[in-house]
Symmetry: C2
Subunit: 463 residues, 2 copies
């Protein structure tokens, strides 16, 4: 037990140096909660049962959903920058741990300032607040980098041994401060000319991808590839799409999102659906069972969303068991999948709120199907992207012709197929839409087990 512990204390055991593992796990947990927080105002929007959901969705929810999606993307951009940063700085000490906590505190404030900005698009102060948050985050990260390079034993082994430490330092600082400088300009311009501020803030998200596309095009036109790219691949801290992200952190961040999303509905149920003792006495003549049966749809919504999210986690887990390297494109697809998963509790809550067989209910069920479809199809896209470069990104068993290839394909294809099927069935047989939907929820867990048996039998039959 003592040996691995000593190793875990870092390159200089006994000094204050520590591995960053637990700090990063904690940061991932915080960031995944923050990324999904803006779904709450969407889920808690009260829709009057008499209103038609079609209009309500368009008017009430659309703005909030947009805020949720944008916040999710912004926090994941901050998360990706955090991943890159701690790929350079591999060991921490007390100062870095405290600096990181300060950085986290400001990041957790981003969703709030963003929703202020979205609610008051014409008021400079909203833009100013958001930009200032982003600038402060950038400054703290710059201090972390400076501190790391001042204490080189904290750095990545490769950079530690490199002779060009100063080159790396300048390069990393340039990338980290690019966004905050744009935000700083946005903060200043917010008081003079607001549209320019929005353009500048938009640039922050688009810029890394833009430069990537431009260099890719340039290389394509000029025909230079091998030498140049190999040079680039040494600089671990860039934004290029094909570079690997830390697989552990992608998993940890995804786990956090799945866990918080799976429990979002139970938080509401625990708070709102404990009946009042007096009401039970008066209205239901003391029968708790009758009082609880009123909340039936809520329980159904909870079990439905927990099962769906649990199984999508299960598919994700199965997939990443065979992924050896997560490229940036795979990371992007994963984040898009997670963004849709964040919408699932909302969709299920909608299905529980309407009286049976109303027009609204069918629409709510269809929205649930669409969200499930997109969440699962992006998971499928991660796999196909991995297959394109399977030598590097996949375990041999999951590649074409591998032992687990067919089973993985079936697992990943199950949810897109079922949700698409359920969607079209509700269109055709609108009277039975609720029954179809609940049947889908109940059948799918068994389908996974049946799939395993089916694939095994067919594989042995082929042999």
């Amino acid at each position: 037990m003592a040996a691995p512990r000593a190793a875990a204390l870092g390159p200089e055991p006994g000094s204050s140096t520590q591995t960053s593992h637990r700090l990063l796990a904690y940061s991932d947990a915080l960031l995944s909660i923050i990324a999904t927080v803006m779904i709450l105002p969407v889920a808690h929007t009260k829709i009057h049962p008499d209103q038609k959901l079609g209009e309500s969705v368009q008017q009430l929810l659309l703005a909030k959903i947009a805020v949720y999606l944008m916040t999710f993307l912004i926090v994941t951009v901050a998360w990706a920058a955090h991943v890159r940063l701690f790929q350079v700085i591999e060991h921490i000490d007390d100062v870095l741990a405290l600096l990181n906590l300060a950085c986290m505190m400001i990041i957790t404030f981003l969703p709030y300032t963003f929703s202020l900005m979205a609610s008051f698009p014409g008021i400079p102060f909203g833009i100013f607040l958001f930009s200032v948050c982003a600038v402060v985050i950038g400054l703290i990260q710059a201090v972390i980098v400076a501190y790391g390079f001042y204490h080189p034993h904290l750095l990545n082994q490769q950079i530690q041994e490199s002779e060009n430490q100063n080159f790396y330092k300048r390069h990393i600082l340039k990338i980290i401060l690019r966004g905050p400088v744009l935000c700083f300009l946005a903060a200043i311009f917010s008081f003079f000319f607001i549209p320019l501020s929005y353009v500048l803030l938009g640039l922050v998200i688009v810029f890394p991808h833009l430069t990537r596309v431009i260099t890719w095009c340039k290389n394509k036109v000029l025909g230079r590839r091998g030498e140049e790219e190999e040079h680039h691949s040494l600089e671990t801290f860039t934004f290029y799409l094909s570079e690997p992200l830390s697989k552990e952190r992608v998993e940890a961040f995804s786990d956090g999102v799945y866990a918080i999303v799976a429990t979002l509905l139970i938080l509401d149920i625990c708070e709102d659906n404990v009946p009042d003792p007096r009401e039970v006495e008066e209205k239901f003549h003391g029968s708790l069972l009758e009082a609880l049966s009123e909340y039936g749809p809520n329980y159904l919504a909870y079990f439905g969303s927990f099962v769906t999210i649990g199984l999508l986690w299960f598919v994700h887990h199965s997939l990443f068991l065979y992924v050896t390297k997560a490229t940036r494109l795979m990371g992007l697809l994963n984040i898009l999948s997670l963004a849709f998963i964040g919408g699932l509790p909302l969709a299920y809550q909608l299905t529980s709120e309407f009286a049976e067989k109303s027009h609204n209910e069918i629409e709510a069920i269809q929205v649930s199907c669409v969200i499930t479809f997109f969440a699962s199809i992006f998971q499928f896209a991660i796999w196909t992207t991995a297959l394109l470069n399977e030598e590097e990104t996949l375990h041999p068993f999951a590649r074409y012709g591998g032992k687990e290839h067919a089973f993985m394909f079936a697992k990943l294809a199950l949810y897109p197929c079922v949700s698409l099927g359920a969607f079209f069935l509700t269109c055709l047989l609108s009277e039975f839409s609720t029954a179809i939907f609940h049947l889908m929820q109940i059948v799918i867990p068994f389908a996974f087990l049946a799939l395993r048996i089916f694939v095994r039998i067919s594989l042995t039959a082929i042999k």
Copy 2:
């Protein structure tokens, strides 16, 4: 990259066997969220500003706080059983992953059924529901054990090689099913004689500790120790207080609790404190800054609680860096510390809700100090417990006379001292209580850095 991956796929790479690492991390995340969920009804209790907090606390909050604490303990009992279970079963396959998800789903329902039981102590159906949940959880865990022993390659290496597999199986099943059998009886008796049900349910929590104390007393009286205890220590799956828990899982569970508690207030702020554009236009003449200044106390409460929880996490992280083994007693102390940490957002929210210098505000601040004190003193207790058996539980640097011993002591003593000091200061100088409290919040992060420098200087001075 391929080598560690292949290893991670378990003892038979290519088969469906997988390491349980990620499944357990996901379970820990779910369980930690569920353990803290019942703090929400406490935190959202509306207290009228004119009411005296002293009475309100006693009447309104006390029942809810009791429910929160009991739920926390019940979920942590379920968590501890889960840890034990997956110390026996070290590898998983698809069936076990799905069974575990089913188990998680029922566990997430425990807080709700418990609060039903607490709201309707005299109605059989509440007790019945809670007991049924507990029975179902026990049954699923029994199925997991049976499945694991039917596929021995999934088991712990030690048990796999043992000749007494059947003995282990019976022993584990006995321990797992003891609780559910008591709950089953409680469910039946709930319809005949309710008090007996409560006694039976109480037994479930007390039983493991009771048997431990009884065997300890028996050994003390009869004088048998060495041989007997060594024999017991081979049976990894028991409830004895001195046996090690998986340190990784203690850390993961704690991280989850710290992360969800740190972000609880921002969830509320994001949802409730975005001002309505129309209101800003009418009431504040379009000035966003003025509208936001109304929420000032909320921001202060958020930053205060984030800083305190962040730093308590930091202390926990520093401590567990030097802990090599977590005994059951240390686990228990850790859980008590976490239970108080769950109360922090509530305390901070109380401080933000009252007008300045009212009697209520001083009481709210004192409650905050008391909660902080208990959360940190239990952390200190973990350390002292570890020191009692330092050869086994602590890294050499943290033991008596170790390089980091003095610094660790100072780190752990900081919060108990400061919170106790703040408490007595607010008693003496009640007029300045708010100022004292905010000063405490701002000074502490710098105190940690100053501490590091101070300890270093004094150590070199001694030499």
